[in-house]
Subunit: 414 residues, 2 copies
Amino acid sequence: MTGAGAAIGIVDRPPISVEAHQSAILQAITPLAAVSVGLASAEGCVLAEDVTAAVSLPSFDNSGMDGYAIQAADTELSSERTAVTLPVTAEIAAGDTATYRLLPGTAIKIMTGARLPAGADAVVPVEWTNGGAEHVEIYRRVDPGNAVRRAGGDAVAGETLLRQGVRMRPMQIAVAASAGRAAIRVRPRPRAVVLSTGNELTEPGTPLVPGQIWDSNSYMLAAAAREAGALADRRSVVPDDPAGVLPALQDQLAHADLLVTTGGVSMGGEHDVVKAALQELGTVTFTKVAVQPGMPQGFGTLGEDQVPIFTLPGNPVSAYVSFQLFVRPAIAALQGADDLRLPTVRATLAAPVRSPEGRRSYLRGVLGDGIVTPLSGQGSHQIAALGKANALIMVPEQETRLPQGDTVEVLVLP
Amino acid sequence: MTGAGAAIGIVDRPPISVEAHQSAILQAITPLAAVSVGLASAEGCVLAEDVTAAVSLPSFDNSGMDGYAIQAADTELSSERTAVTLPVTAEIAAGDTATYRLLPGTAIKIMTGARLPAGADAVVPVEWTNGGAEHVEIYRRVDPGNAVRRAGGDAVAGETLLRQGVRMRPMQIAVAASAGRAAIRVRPRPRAVVLSTGNELTEPGTPLVPGQIWDSNSYMLAAAAREAGALADRRSVVPDDPAGVLPALQDQLAHADLLVTTGGVSMGGEHDVVKAALQELGTVTFTKVAVQPGMPQGFGTLGEDQVPIFTLPGNPVSAYVSFQLFVRPAIAALQGADDLRLPTVRATLAAPVRSPEGRRSYLRGVLGDGIVTPLSGQGSHQIAALGKANALIMVPEQETRLPQGDTVEVLVLP
């Protein structure tokens, strides 16, 4: 093997672990600059500030139900049999910003969310009354504070509601809106550009000549990057033209926060044009990672702005697994977050599996009810099986086979 | 209570179950018409056809590694000590569409993915050779078929690769691309329009007068609908103007496959303008569902095209829970799928919880490591707690309290 390595100009270093490669990537990534975005565009962005309550929430005492604002003491004798009757002196709808005052021995009709009138200390729900318009009969005794939402009951002024580093999901957007924020400072969704390389690739929808296959990687990885929170686009296939690859990549730098290529990085030497073109620059490191699939990995930066670039292997399954292990956490890191690692569960193997010695395998499987079933067709080019998988079965580096019934760690696919 | 109901014109029917309301919704929904979309836009759409392999995948025998195409029999005597040397007669790169023929006793250099030359039955990986250009020394015996990917090894022509009803995620997009499909027939992402109603609502970013709150529902639910796969937009807050609500909703029909409103549907009678406006039409049913939060629900259709409309309660927590229980599955149904129900897990309660009798509660909680911790601030208006939740704790209808340590069902939030 040393001979072969020397012949094609590669110094054989022992492969590094998945975790070591992940760490190297995360250390090299600088979060994107924070920008202010309107709340309607904030979904998927990561907060670059703490969001605090500028005022107490709610900012005023209000009714938690439709009913009547009263003084609780006036209902002391109320029961189904001995209703207390109070005159209704006004009606307050939600959104009514006028000021009302309740006199003892009277009631004011009030809607859910409407401001509690001064002098009132409780609300009788309409269901406990006859619903009267001029006088109301009250059939139950009401405690002070009943159905009243106090000012500050949700949050007090100055309270931190959302912390920097939180990804803005629907609930976080609701919290920011309810605190009155029309815009927030965030690290935006990274703009990812995905390019497949290889003379063997042709666009789906065009006729196939023996020797060619249809490009799937760029479609797949652009979709995967969007799923992980990026704004992602694919570009046309880049041919294996040594002079053309670097310009094709550099063309993307103006509108990319992250570049992902597939293909052109194996051990074949002169045909691996991506590797050849980037190795010359010295800003991209090509590494063997002790993983199956996905051993040949490249990562570094390109251009003045040091745009991170991942050169993933060309086999579709290798490209997919590499994306989930290495690119996904990098998208989070560009946003100053650490929330995109895939969740792991433990499950029972429904069938035996094999794995190469010294490399951690991620085998495609179907997970359900604590059981994970390895799919047939585990070759790196066998994409049909990938379409059925919902999990990756981890086989540790030191294991070459695991029997049916063993407990394994499983990555749950998004 | 009968008296109160009669007074405000509501016939008291017993509340229906969550499942009964879900079924009524799903039965009323007609899937969107299928359209053809380009693969780059297909993510999140649901297949309306089966995708089959038009040709075998791969369509030709090819090399699984960088190395030399040979006849395996020629390596019978190869070993580290007695290398077999073969003349190298050609080189085939990936994507080379010329036709090559291997003669016995010779080798052809070949790259990963390149078409296997006629006459060859195996590939020697470059690592098992000296990597020679004119002659190659082979240090290991190779079995027939070694490192060869057979035509049809991924899928045979005619094989069904993806079935109708599957949601197009990155892996499914990869499968369609690898089968050469530039476009597929799908049911598209539904276009959802979200409107908050209520005089008490004002836009975030504007000053707040006592009696008013900032609108959060429309921002939250538009984001939640996008997260569930819809194309969603919010509209400005609709005021409680009995004459204005219906026109405001009808204005949206031309560009909505689904309408969601919040507010204006409680028990308060004349102020519930959404309910009043839609009840007149007779195409929307207002129902009490035995759930907390989210008891008052409205669902039906609007306009000639029978656009589904959900009228959710106005409290933000009620609106959020209602969305996840009722609107989310409806988005899937519009796409002819059934994949948007939230996953359920069993977990141990870290603290006791309470629930109203006869209603199923969904309490906000934090789930981790099989333990679920109820959050404080479970009021329907208490949105701050919602921002911390990642799960909803289900308390069954017949339970009014559950002790710490009980096992509960938990909905995992997206």
